[in-house]
Amino acid sequence: MTKQVQQLDRVIIRFAGDSGDGMQLTGDRFTAGTAEFGNDLSTLPNFPAEIRAPAGTLPGVSSFQLHFADHDILTPGDAPNVLVAMNPAALKANLGDLPRGADIIANTDEFTKRNLQKVGYDANPLEDDSLAEWRVHPVPLTSLTVKALEGFDLSKKDAERSKNMFALGLLSWLYHRPTEATISFLETKFAKKPDIAKANIAAFTAGWNYGETTESFSVSYEVKPAPLPAGVYRNISGNQALAYGLIAASVQAKLPLFLGSYPITPASDILHELSKHKRFGIRTFQAEDEIAGVGAALGASFGGALGVTTTSGPGVALKAETVGLAVTTELPLIVVDVQRAGPSTGMPTKTEQTDLLMAMYGRNGESPLPVVAPMSPSDCFDAAIEAARLAVKYRTPVMLLSDGYLANGSEPWKVPSAAELPDISTAFATAPDEGETFLPFKRDPETLARPWAIPGTAGLEHRIGGIEKADGTGNISYDPDNHDRMVRLRQAKIDGIAKDIPALEIDDPDGDARVLVLGWGSTYGPIAAAVRRIRKAGGKVAQAHLRHLNPLPANTGEVLKSYDKVLLPEINLGQLALLLRARFLVDIISYNRVRGLPFKAEELAGVIQDVIDSE
């Protein structure tokens, strides 16, 4: 049977199943095949915080969405074209996101009476006509897998475990994905259990062959490679890019990296990644708590290391006092906040941009510090280097605001060579700076940074601490005028960084838009995708995206004031809008959703259109 091949320009697939079904792995492997094939892509894992929620229940559903295309794309996609539902819970949890006409590949073996009842289905939706508006492909994935593995010495339970690889094989056939990388991946992953490796490969191959022979699928699809700029690419998640950025920062700053961290979702993967790279001289310290994590990092910075701590919002709250100590002792420190839904424990695996005001102001006293936010998973690499550059050059703690969406999402990344990266090294103080005397708080006239004199340097012995310091000498001082001066000096040092960061760039192809959409952090992709839609439909809109939240680029006020309307979508209740309104007296239009999920392009396009139309 020769099957028809249809060309598509883009596809959004969502793999959904029980958290024990291996959906994240399935998604990762499909992504790897897609990256290798040369499509542009963007991914969105979505999983429960529970490690193993009760099997077959709605809270236990784990999913992985992948958007791939023959052109450059900006988001993991709004709505899936294809849903792979490994059980009734996966169908029920995801059907609401599925547009009419989309494909549903359902594992019929799991649609048992008991499983249906668990999620409140009275009748089997695959058998009544409740799914008539979708294209349903019922496939007995589990039993086909077990059958394919009959020749292996495996229990039925173990054989069933490979059903995700069967599904991967079927989808790989359906979308013409290369198979070699997945086969070699399985060989490596199960190198110590060759039988399991062989079984998984057999299940994967069986899934592919099933697609080729079954009548359930009459068409397969091709999505041509995307014309991306020339270079070597890899797929990378935000957390991995951030970890690599920190390693690169350590190399480029010529400072040993010291990470003090306490495990917390969704930041722990940075700790895991950095702990693998000890041959770069990286010390990773899993502390007894969040406070000790940042404390140890600051102690290491005092000793001349690049001190880093990684956490999420609840951890930042605990670290606040130590970050304040870093502000007043003026030592380099990088505080990575992979934001998640709050307040309190909130929704640990869901994304949010709600820590901006905490990053800015969440400490006692006047304690300014730079805030930097990456805009895409791969941009976490560059943002980490930028955070380190500012920390080292200005002797200050820097907040790096990633979030759950960036952390776990992935995209192709054009790998830079080390030679292209900036030199961010600095010099330690080696000699007295005032005649025979060493003044630990004598400032560089240009940057206002103080000298970084590390223990072991003869003649520069000095004491620092949290008590207010006399300007210059650093001795304890309760003098009112000195305190006022020091508060202003610390503020001026951070404000002065505005001279050292790029101007806010505006994307306005025709230069005549009257509405500006502004964003920061991880909303870049959905905003840019929405802007494209508006422009494609003939609308005019300008876009600008802030990477530096503190200080803001020097031209920010000017940019905001040059548009009739400024729209600012944020996954919070308007935190940046509050800052901009106060600072520039501009009547920002906020658009806010805090659902633990990224914005959708279509949603934002609608909002932008409404603002344009209301002119």
Binding site: A32, E36, G38, P225, L228, P229, A230, G231, Y233, R234, N235, Y244, I247, A248, V251, P256, F258, G260, H277, K278, R279, F280, G281, I282, R283, F285, A287, E288, I291, G295, A296, A297, L298, G299, A300, S301, F302, G303, G304, A305, G307, E321, T322, T329, V415, S417, A418, P455, G456, T457, A458, G459, E461, H462, R463, G465, G466, I467, N475, I476
Partner: protein
């Protein structure tokens, strides 16, 4: 006890060529404790003792938390970090773990290390980072003006406990031994000779050494340790712990009890060979723990000296060893190789 210094101890800290004296370690800062405070005696003891170590002054760092005692680093002409309440062990851990060429000292009080910083203290002890922790125990909050502390006796009447405190105090030595600290000692501010002898052993010990120093707060808890200073009774109360020597005071002795524990008895009533001989190097901490319980009820008899001093690899040397092993196995890190590791593809 050199056979136990199997780790780095002070071996990686550069030695000074010049002869040093006490004045080299006095900073130019005016000391601002209350007149008569026990902290003065401890400062003088430290300043006059550290030159003996012969280390480069610039390679010594004093890190403190918050409280009266935590002002200490300002008065030492070394590097110093007066940090925040309770966090000194954490900050010092990062410093010591990344700089094996430093001799790092933590100065803390009973409130700083046992209340707000209790967690950091026990974790520093279990990790065995190369730190010397001097815990100034005055059994009261001084800097906040006289509230009861985690080492205050039950029923303590203070501003915050007008009807008496309810919480049972920590015994810092028991706590440290419970955390299996590798070096645990107790000394007293008024006995400079003993204090310095303990500091010497602490400084050279490989890993974390915890030294509890009974320190008098003459403003808010004056006389807390008077029994140990009173010539009439101190020799009877104080049980000297010296490795390899019988544990005795002038009139009392420690021996094995019939129930398997240990007990304090009238010295005259026991034969010399029945008296327990102190073994600070015993790997099992249970006997050291039993010794730490001998001052219950407080001040009937108080063991003073080194309870426990055992050899154990330090956290920082093991951390450094892992880095070296990683390089030995796969060579030093190369950024380009790192970024290109795994699945890559070329476009164009």
């Amino acid at each position: 006890m050199s056979e136990l210094l199997n780790g780095r101890g002070l071996s990686l800290v550069p030695k000074s060529d010049a002869k040093q004296g006490m004045k080299d370690y006095k900073s130019d800062q005016e000391v601002r404790w209350c007149p008569g405070c026990g902290d003065y005696a401890i400062l003088a003891a430290v300043q006059s003792f550290v030159p003996e170590l012969g280390l480069k002054r610039e390679n010594m760092v004093f890190v403190s938390g918050i409280g009266c005692s935590s002002r200490f680093p300002y008065y030492m002409n070394t590097y110093g970090f007066h940090s925040i309440h309770g966090r000194a062990p954490a900050i010092a851990t990062g410093l010591a773990a990344s700089r094996p060429d430093l001799s790092v000292w933590v100065i803390t009080g009973d409130g700083d290390s046992l209340s707000i910083g209790g967690n950091h203290l026990i974790h520093a002890l279990r990790r065995n980072v190369n730190l010397n922790i001097l815990l100034f125990n005055n059994r009261i909050y001084g800097l906040t003006k006289g509230q009861y502390s985690p080492t205050s006796e039950v029923g303590k009447i203070t501003k915050s406990t007008p009807m008496g405190s309810l919480d049972k105090p920590f015994n810092p030595i028991s706590l440290a031994i419970g955390a299996e600290a590798s070096f645990v000692a107790r000394t007293i501010d008024s006995d400079r000779k003993h204090l310095q002898s303990v500091l010497r052993e602490a400084a050279e010990h490989n890993g974390t050494s915890l030294v509890e120093i009974y320190q008098n707060c003459n403003i808010f808890n004056d006389g807390a340790f008077d029994q140990l200073k009173d010539p009439e009774q101190r020799d009877d109360i104080t049980l000297r712990l010296e490795h390899g020597r019988p544990i005795v005071s002038a009139s009392k002795a420690v021996r094995r009890a019939a129930d398997g524990g240990i007990e304090v008895v009238d010295r005259a009533s026991v034969a010399e060979e029945e008296i327990l001989v102190h073994d600070a190097h015993r790997a099992d901490p249970s006997l050291a723990f039993a010794l730490s319980r001998l001052d219950e009820p407080a001040f009937e008899h108080v063991p003073i000296g080194i309870f426990r001093s055992v050899g154990r690899p330090s956290y920082d040397e093991q951390m450094a060893a892992q880095l070296e092993e990683a390089v030995a196995q796969r060579g030093p890190g190369d950024l380009d190789n790192l970024l290109l590791a795994g699945d890559t593809w070329r476009i164009g």
